[in-house]
């Protein structure tokens, strides 16, 4: 891998920032708020920020970059797809439980549901995330989708994933804003008590975590190497997605890749086509 040290630095930073974010969300609800329970009280609502930050931000972020970890490149693509889908399913379950906690708390306290921009965009993000997961499962994990469909949908899958991830972080920032305004009364949010400073810092960390994940996910030279042999052997217009011959591909040096690239003129043209259309997974 090119820039292996820099990749490790980014990975370590994002894991650290994500981990500290989860810890800060726990400090917030356990030290400054009412703790955690499941009884319709404010302590049930507190599951909402903790599970969103743990699942919908941290675990989703890891799921996005899991294909890029160089020590997984010797694993089969199918195994990595299962890990990607498994992490995203975990994130989805935690997100749904956290939404139920918020609704339960509202219903128990006769607080209206779904009036705020946070709730509108948040619910839309959960729905799109579920759709993305089910479509991804049907198209990329089950063996039925034709290769051309996979190739056509991959750029949309990647774009949707990153856009939903960014939207989730934006929604978390709105949620933090709402909660601090509603919960801090004496002293108020505008008086910057320690809780406000802590949770503002949590919000900043979420933005930094998102920025680190998006940088790692969008560097072309940190992509999992394509299965060059599968590419060259497959017919023009096909894509290695779903060609499980690549599953046993091990990491090859750039020189090897360059040699393989030059093998045939058809393969070279095909590679250019794939590169330009962005039709193979960028994650």
């Amino acid at each position: 891998m090119e820039d292996y040290g820099r990749f490790l630095a980014f990975l370590a930073s994002s894991l650290l920032v994500g981990f500290v974010s989860v810890i800060l969300s726990l400090v917030w609800v356990l030290h400054y708020r009412e703790g955690l329970s499941w009884d319709g009280s404010a302590a049930e609502f507190n599951w909402h920020p903790v599970l969103i930050i743990t699942g919908f931000v941290f675990i989703q972020g890891i799921a996005i970059i899991v294909y890029r970890l160089p020590w997984t490149w010797k694993c089969s693509k199918l195994l990595m797809k299962f890990i990607h889908a498994g992490l995203n399913t975990t994130a989805m379950i935690l997100a749904i439980v956290s939404v139920v906690a918020a609704f339960d708390f509202h219903n128990a306290g006769n607080i209206p549901n779904m009036y705020s921009l946070h709730s509108w965009i948040g619910l839309a993000a959960v729905i799109f995330y579920c759709l993305q997961l089910f479509l991804g499962f049907a198209v990329f994990l089950l063996p039925f989708a034709p290769v051309r469909l996979r190739a056509a949908l991959m750029p949309i899958h990647v774009y949707s994933g990153l856009t939903i991830f960014a939207t989730v972080i934006a929604t978390a920032l709105m949620g933090i804003t709402e909660k601090l305004i509603f919960a801090l009364k004496n002293p108020a949010y505008s008086e910057s008590p320690p809780e406000a400073i802590l949770v503002n810092c949590l919000g900043l960390l979420l933005v930094i975590f998102g920025s680190l994940i998006l940088w790692m996910a969008s560097r072309p030279h940190w992509k999992r190497p394509p299965a060059e042999n599968a590419k060259i052997l497959s017919p023009i217009g096909a894509t290695p997605e779903g060609t499980e011959a690549e599953s046993t591909m091990t990491n090859s040096s750039n020189a090897d890749k360059s040699d393989l690239r030059s093998n045939t003129e058809a393969a070279r043209k095909q590679n250019i086509k794939f590169d330009e259309a962005g039709q193979r997974s960028t994650m």
Copy 2:
């Protein structure tokens, strides 16, 4: 251009969504709030959302995709850089004036400044945007930066631009949330009066606008065509950025590009290197 009709549909949609967002921000402050003035009152604050949405969201969004408009591909790269920089400078000025309006309003009403997460992330976004603009001006517009420096900084410039843009939209959503909670008292935000519905819809439109711009900015086949002749004639390791020979490049067909690509083995390897490193502008 590949998919010209689809590009036009995305462009028309983003212009429409951006334009409607600006109109809705005006309806909000002129019909539901205190109008616009510059006297330290709430009417001065109202410049804040209007100028942020007009400048920091809409104009910045257009600045991001301006290289991708196919009818500008016959214009010189230098002219397009001036237009890109000019639009971003306009957005920066409007953003700074809007921040001054918010501070003025706070100071006149003895409301503390810089306590909220919205203000922390918003001020950071303005500072990074100014840095990005001045660095971009110094490196890509002035003729002094060496070609290697331009090539090394271009991926960072593109990534920073898109990340700042997404952060600005997230900050606008937090700002909308704050303002609706503070301003709507009887009926409250939670009672969903017409103003709340209108401004929630405005927030949704900002997310849609951002998503459309990010889709257009990240499609590899909608990039401004590289100056192939400049690329092939330049030494290995150089990049066409700053080679103003490309300024007079007109749009060429894919077949022409393919022929040019095949001209020399060195040029081919160089092209692969550029494609993989993402070292030319993606916008």
